[in-house]
C-alpha cells in the first residue's frame, strides 16, 4: 500500500518524538512492504517564527494532499504573550477545522506493566483499564453561536455561550462511536445531562435512534456528573464513551489521568474526509526539550492508531502495540515512567529499541 504521510513536528519535544515515531513507521512499512512517502510542514510556534501565523496555507495544502497527518506537539513559553489570534493553539484548531475533523478518539489504556503508575488503587483498577473516549470536536458550546458579552437593562454586564447540537452532528459522532465500540468491547456509554439540558435531550433521542442499528452493542446513557464519579469508582465498567465537546474535554482528560501515564497516550482526530490527524495527548514539554528525556511512546502509539484508522492496517497496528508492551515487559522505561529496578532509556534509544524489536 502507498502511505503518504504529512508530518508536523511542531514545538518543544515535538521534533524529537516525531523523529522516533518516524523511525518506527519506516521499519513497519519496510517489514510489511508498504511504500512510505513523507512530507513535512510547520505548525504552531515554529510557523509563527517563520511566517507570522501558526498555520500557513502551505501546511494546510500539504495536509490535504496527504493520506494522514502525524503531529508532535505545539506551543511553549516563547509564544505565550503574543496576540491571541495567532497563538500556537490556533494552529491546531485551524487544522482540525480545515480537515473537518469532528471526532476526537482518546484511548485511556493502562498498560499492565505500568499499573503501579495509576493513581487509583489496585482493587479499583482490577483487570485493567482500556477506555476509548469519542469526543465531538468541532461543535457544542466551544463553537456555538450566539456568544459574547452584553449589558442588560440595569446596565449590568453579562456574558454567554450557546451549547448547541443539530441532529446530523449528533448522528455522525454517535454512529462513529458505535462502529468503534463494535470493534472493541461492544459496549457504549453516551454521556450527557438530559435531566437538565435540552441539548442533551436531543442528543439522547438521536443516539437512541442510531442504537437501533447496533443491537449487538450494549448501549447505555449516563449523566456527565455521574460519569466523572464512575471513572474514579469503577472505571472497568466502561469500554467506549461518546460525548459532546465540553463533556468530552473533561471526561477524556479525567480518564487519561487515572491511568497515571499521560506520556503513553495517543489520540486521533478523524472526520468524513480521507485525512485524519494523529498526535500524542501530552504537550510540548519545553522544560525537557533537547534533554533526551521525552517519551516517544505516545507518538509511536499514534502511528499505530494511524495505521489502524486511516489505512485499516490492523496487523501493522497490532504489531506496534505488542512491541511496546514487550519493551515495557522487558523492563525498559523513559524518565517519566521510570521505576526502581528498570532501565531508563533516552527518547532516541527507546525509538530505536521499539523499531529493532518489531
Amino acid at each position: 500500500m502507498d502511505l503518504n504521510i504529512c508530518v508536523l513536528p511542531g514545538d518543544g519535544i515535538g521534533p524529537e518524538i516525531i523523529e522516533q515515531a518516524v523511525v518506527v513507521l519506516e521499519k513497519v512499512c519496510e517489514k510489511f512492504g508498504h511504500k512510505l512517502s513523507l512530507d513535512e510542514a510547520q505548525i504552531g510556534g515554529v510557523a509563527i517564527d517563520a511566517h507570522n501565523t501558526p498555520l500557513p496555507q502551505a501546511t494546510i495544502d500539504k495536509c490535504l494532499a496527504s493520506d494522514a497527518v502525524l503531529m508532535g506537539a505545539i506551543g511553549g513559553p516563547k509564544w505565550d504573550k503574543i496576540d491571541k489570534s495567532i497563538r500556537p493553539e490556533r494552529g491546531l484548531l485551524g487544522i482540525r477545522k480545515a480537515l473537518g475533523l469532528y471526532a476526537n478518539l482518546r484511548p485511556a489504556k493502562l498498560w499492565d506493566e505500568l499499573k503501579d503508575a495509576s493513581f487509583l488503587k489496585d482493587s479499583v483498577i482490577g483487570d485493567g483499564l482500556d477506555i476509548m473516549v469519542v469526543r465531538e470536536l468541532i461543535g457544542g458550546i466551544y463553537f456555538g453561536e450566539p456568544r459574547g458579552e452584553g449589558v442588560d437593562e440595569n446596565g449590568e454586564r453579562y456574558a454567554y455561550n450557546t451549547m448547541v447540537y443539530k441532529e446530523s452532528e449528533v448522528k455522525r459522532i454517535v454512529k462513529l462511536a458505535f462502529e468503534i465500540a463494535r470493534k472493541r468491547g461492544s459496549k457504549l456509554h453516551s454521556v450527557e445531562k438530559a435531566n437538565v439540558l435540552d441539548v442533551s435531550q436531543l442528543w439522547n433521542e438521536v443516539a437512541e435512534e442510531v442504537s437501533k442499528d447496533y443491537s449487538d452493542v450494549d448501549y447505555h446513557t449516563m449523566y456527565v456528573d455521574n460519569c466523572a464519579m464512575q471513572l474514579v469508582r469503577n472505571p472497568g465498567q466502561f469500554d467506549t464513551i461518546v460525548t459532546g465537546n465540553l463533556f468530552g474535554d473533561i471526561i477524556s482528560d479525567e480518564a487519561s489521568m487515572i491511568t497515571g501515564s499521560i506520556g503513553m497516550l495517543p489520540s486521533a482526530s478523524i472526520g468524513d474526509g480521507k485525512v485524519s490527524l494523529f498526535e500524542p495527548i501530552h504537550g510540548s514539554a519545553p522544560d525537557i526539550t533537547g534533554t533526551g528525556k521525552a517519551n516517544p511512546l505516545a507518538t509511536i502509539l499514534s502511528v499505530s492508531m494511524m495505521l489502524r484508522y486511516s489505512f485499516d492496517l490492523d496487523a501493522e497496528a497490532d504489531l506496534i502495540e505488542a512491541t511496546v508492551a514487550k519493551v515495557l515487559a522487558e523492563g525498559y522505561r523513559t524518565a517519566d515512567i521510570m521505576e526502581d529496578g528498570k532501565e531508563c532509556l533516552s527518547c532516541s534509544e527507546m525509538g530505536a529499541l521499539v523499531a529493532s524489536k518489531l
Copy 2:
C-alpha cells in the same frame, strides 16, 4: 440562642437518618443551653402522595418561617414514572429557588479512619483530603435562557442551552467562596474554561476583581478539564474551589467520590436570605429503607454545617465533628463503611452513640 428548625424528612431512608440527626441536634442544644423548636413539613414523594405536588405551599411557608432547614432525601422508584413537572426532584429545585439559595457548599473530606475507603492510592492522598467545593446553584446553563429546540433553514432539528452569568451573580458566589476559604486553608481555586468560553472570561474578570479584597487568600484559576485531572492526580493541592453550576455539578461529584465514602458527606445550600438548607449528598436509597442499614453520619454532619453556617455556633459544630471522628476511631461503623475488625451499628445505634458521646 433560639433555633427554629424546619425538618423535611422526605422519602426512602430520609425519615430514618433525620430522626438520628435530630437526636444529636437535641443533645447539642441541651448541652449548650440553646432553645430548639422543631417543625416538620413534606417534600418529594411523600408530598406528591399527600398533595399531588412535590412542594406544597405549606412547606415553603414553614421553611421561610424557620431559621434553617434540615432535609433528608427525596425520590424513589415509586415516583419515577410520573409526570416530569411534579417529579420529586422538582421539590428540591423549587425550595432552593423559593429560599434564593445560590450557593451549594460541598465538602469532600476524607476521614482519617476511613482512608482505606478512598479509591485513590495512599501515596496520592498523602496527608488527607479536605476540599470545599462552592458551586453556583441557581444560574448558569441549567437555568439560562434562551433554551429549547428549533428547526433550521434545512429543516433539521437542533437543540440549545445558554450558559450565562451576569457580574452580580459571579461576584456574590466568588465573594462567599473567598470568605469560606479565609476560614479554612486560605487558598481558593476558581474553576472555569476561559481559554474557550466568553462566560468564563467574564467570570475570571469578576473573580480577579473580588480577589483584591482578599489578598490574604492564595487565589488561583484553573481550567475545568485540568481540575478533573488534578483531583485524581494531586487532590491535596486544593482547599476551596469555586465554580459555576455545571462545572460545580461535575467537580463536586468527582471530589466526593474520591473520598470513597459518600455516606459521610453533608452539604449546605445558602443564599442571601436568612434561611439555608442542609442535607446529606447521598440519595434516598430505597433498597435499604427500613433495614436499619442507613448511615446517619452525613445527616449528623449536615447538622454540624447548619450550626456553623446558619448560627455561627462553631464550638457546637466542632464538637459534632470531633465526636464523629471519635466514634470512627473507636471502631464503630455502619454497613456502607464497614471494614474487617470493626463493629457494625444500625442507623439508630449510630445516632444514639454519637449523641451519647457528645
